[in-house]
Amino acid sequence: MRLRLVVNGEVREVDDVWEGESLLYVLRERLELPGSKNACEQGECGSCSVYVDGSLVCSCLVLAGQAEGREVVTVEGISDGDDLHPVQRAFVDAGAVQCGFCTPGFVVATHDLLRRNPDPDEADIREALAGNLCRCTGYEKILDAVRLAARGATG
């Protein structure tokens, strides 16, 4: 089938999509946007987190056709051109990145958290990011990164 959607502000059209593909698959394999990651493909790890019409979702759980006409923002669309978004900068500076496979999902989920709650306390951060698994860092530096980004955002 043919699919038309807006990704990172750009209208994208793809043909020959098999109806059983997920939005994650379409992004990664058909739109050259492999930033969203395929770690579990059942909504348990959050590494494929994207925005669909402004709502944070696991793109592995969105059927391709459901994204028709929707506005999708992926990790590749978070930064402003070459400049890192403050959340991205904070993840680099805080040492929150190791293997990095979970990082795109954490970046998008943190972006969403700070949009909704610019000054989260520790429990808020932990609850908001509970759907993003990281196997390398033990999460401490991720918490640091979120706090750093929040401080940057709230001045």
Binding site: N38, F91, V97, C99, C136, Y139
Partner: protein, 807 residues
Amino acid sequence: MTSGVPIGVPAGAMPPAPTRERPRSPVQRPGRVGEESARIDGVPKVRGEFEYSSDLWMDGMLHGATLRSPHPHANIRRMDTSEAEEMAGVHAVLTHEDVPGRKVYGMEIPDQPVLAWERVRYQGEPVAVVAADHPETARRALEKIRVEYEVLDPVTSAEEAMREDAPKLHLSGNVLRRVKVLHGQPAGATAEVVVAGEYEVGMQDQAFLGPESGLAVPDGRGGVDLHISTQWLHIDRDQVAESLGLAPDEVRLTLSGVGGAFGGREDLSMQIHSCMLALETGRPVRMVYNREESFYGHVHRHPCKMRFEHGATRDGKLVYVRAGLVFDGGAYASSSNAVCLNAATFACGPYDVPHAQIESHMLYTNNPPCGAMRGFGAVQACFAHESQMDRLAGALGMDPIDLRLKNAIEPGMRFPFGQEVPHPAPVREILKKVKDVPMPEEQELAGRDPRELPGGVSNVTRGEGVKRGVGYAVGFKNIGFSAGFDDYSTARVTLAVEGGEPLVRVHTAAAEVGQGLVTLQAQIARTELGVERVAVEPADTRVGSAGSTSASRQSYVTGAAVEGACAAIREHLFERVREELGGNGDLSLDGDEVLSEGRVIVSLVDLLGDEEIEETLEYHHKETHPLDENGQGDAHLQFAFAAHRAVVEVDTELGLVRVVEIATAQDVGKIMNPQALEGQIEGGIAQGLGLALMEEIQVKSGKVQNASFTDYLLPTILDMPSVRMEILELADPEAPYGLKGVGEPPTISSTPAIVAALRDATGQPLTRIPVRPEQMVGISSKPPEEPPHPGSAGYAEIGRLDERPEH
């Protein structure tokens, strides 16, 4: 869905001899050794631009898929691939008959079929592979392959495998390895106070997030390029070449982005399969496992049953340790031999034990193959010896820390396996340090945010039943490969002027798996050559082996190789300075300049001109030796020590846990990169916490029950507490910069510390990990003998996302 209609993108014109561009290596301006230095791959990773092996993509590439045995033990009677081959969009269907070279592989013992023939020995064993134009086409083709199995009774435990009447799973029998350590006169040893215990460790999974994946590209001349996430490029290459019947230089490997490893990528997964499919079809073939397949696609941490007996004097001095450890190695050897040896040598813990008798057994079974995982045999042993030390302290009425301090091993003593304890071995210091970390304040239970109580958002307690517990543990681990293995790494370093400034290029085959080695190599080059700009080349097999990214060894061994190659370049530069400029005295390099007695005498730009200086160095670490028949020998290179204190809160009525804080003290020899070090320690502890509380691959009758992240639970950010750390820098005089490997110790003693804290809170014996809520409330958690019948009123499927039928 209509079958038979191709669903992939219609294949375009086949590209002639496809090649992939070699990725460029970004130039970094690293800090020096010991300084904070941001990861060079951090920026592409936060942008989603870092290319992992599952992101690889080429025009015209095909998708590979693997047919796996549904049975843990069966004879293969017949295989028919014809229907699959005829499907539209399917380009190749291969079985064992198509393996061009050696039909088996394995790091230590080549006992594992590339593709099974005659017999399958574990559920999930690869039987056939397919290449097709779309992953779904490939999956459907797998379903069209007819395999007729004669199902056999599986050997489902190590004890069963030891029985004389057990079916022999391999020609060599079921005992894969036996290591005995005899020290002192254990046979007649008696003691005033004796404690004995049985302990069990479940099967943990590395659960790296980036699934097994890679892209094989045929070179058109019979060879193949493989882009792959792995821990050790050269051992992969050698095994792949052997099974493809190719010369090693016809198989070239390039490291792709690795989404974590933790031991699980030391063995091959899809490497040979993808290359076979690429060579067969003449097209690039990518294989990407999904999460379920990943549970079948790599080895796991060995389950282990242990029986320990400790004897001590009434005042708490250890007299003897007798221990038997039985490991379930699963269907194939992997690195089980070395795990068995490690566990035997570490069974007594970092204590002075006059008499010891240790027997460690490794058995073949029809369970999933087990092999390397962070901690490698020391994890299982540490859980037992630390549980025993607590038990002994209880029997003696002694403080558990005092008992450990009293028996701590010291430099100059001998380990039970005969090796002299090198300096430094700061067991006492780290125990004292971790004890002296201020205890976290005890918060009021009433009125607390539920997210800071056991159960978290699940709203199970407002303080009811919650008790605090504190536990300690100490552990140690060998760094580097042991027991006579020629363990080495190769570094090729070049220095030249590029873009008007000096640039060092570092090329090794060492696998960056997330730990930060690319940054460390650059820091070393910067430090040794005083050059601001460094580029670390992509790791590949164009340079000599770096050995494995395991055993916490890369900073040491590859670090030493880079240091050595840089030193050779430096000597070369100094020689030229002395020859050309007559400089003498104390030369040094800093800020892209050569200095004599601290004063600039020439810039590197001027000194080098158009010349490029290249040095390649192979660093072999100090020789180690195999154990003799009594388990004696200088088997290990270096030892790293860490201690942990866990503070937990347990809802003692429900058996639910909140870990409040972990404190740790670890001797790292030298802090090479503070941020990376902290990340290793925190991440390692999280894996130790997972093993203590939740992580287990449940296997019943040889079949995995929970091959998904829905039921194999990893700690979330709500489960992992803050870590307080005390870092010691006691230099190892033989190691580069005095450093010690840091990756594994955090995982080893964090687990027993948490379990000790749980015992403190609950009063339950807790002899099996992961600890289940059942055990904490005193309900038997023994799993039912037989899995519930899937059809029985659907009960067995309750809530299983992964088995929900359509409706």
